[in-house]
Symmetry: C2
Subunit: 104 residues, 2 copies
Amino acid sequence: MSGVPELVVLRLLAQREMYGYEIARTLKVVSQGALTLGEGVLYPALHALETRGLLRALPRQVEGRTRIYYRLTPRGRRRLARLAANWQQLSEGVGRILGVADHD
Amino acid sequence: MSGVPELVVLRLLAQREMYGYEIARTLKVVSQGALTLGEGVLYPALHALETRGLLRALPRQVEGRTRIYYRLTPRGRRRLARLAANWQQLSEGVGRILGVADHD
DNA sequence: TCCTATACCTCGCCAAGCGAGGTATAGTCT
DNA sequence: AGACTATACCTCGCTTGGCGAGGTATAGGA
């Protein structure tokens, strides 16, 4: 219905390349704790997005640790636009329902 | 993650008693088409909500057809408050992610 | 040595979403 | 009479998604 994890991951990566752990941290900070993706959600999501050709994986060695940076592909960018529009719709729709004084 | 169907159903019923078919129609109208619950979502949701004691079912015969009106219970009202707050949180969180100019 | 932080991963469960199909009545149109 | 539309309910079964719990490994500080 909402596809929030996919949406927010794509949105962050539209800014710049990031690796999984970083995405998780950033999400928490930017959303002020309102949005937290557990690793059991995040990593499978990243793999799925890569498989579907929306992300490119760029593994790098940094300070002895492996980081897999992800970069948005053009398809990913289009997908993001679609999902963002959907979210906007949904969000406004729910907003209208929540805000009904009364109807019909 | 979002629990949108449950939220909007409870919200509508907080206004007044309604029956399933009516809920579906109203949802569509009020949300201006942004939000549509198929019957495969709506009816199971209503049954679940009733089982969990958040709704009371009130079957009535109207013009030769059976309508099952639903009324919010006090527990349903509390649940609605909780879900609405959650939604608010989520919605704002996603909003912040979508609106990032840049961070960190 | 041990703990914490960083950084990745998968398995398996449960819940949710949702299309497709089914039943039945009332009213309208041909 | 027959066909079609709108109303009104229902369930089955598939697929997706979310998510906790667990596992591996390195670096650095106590």
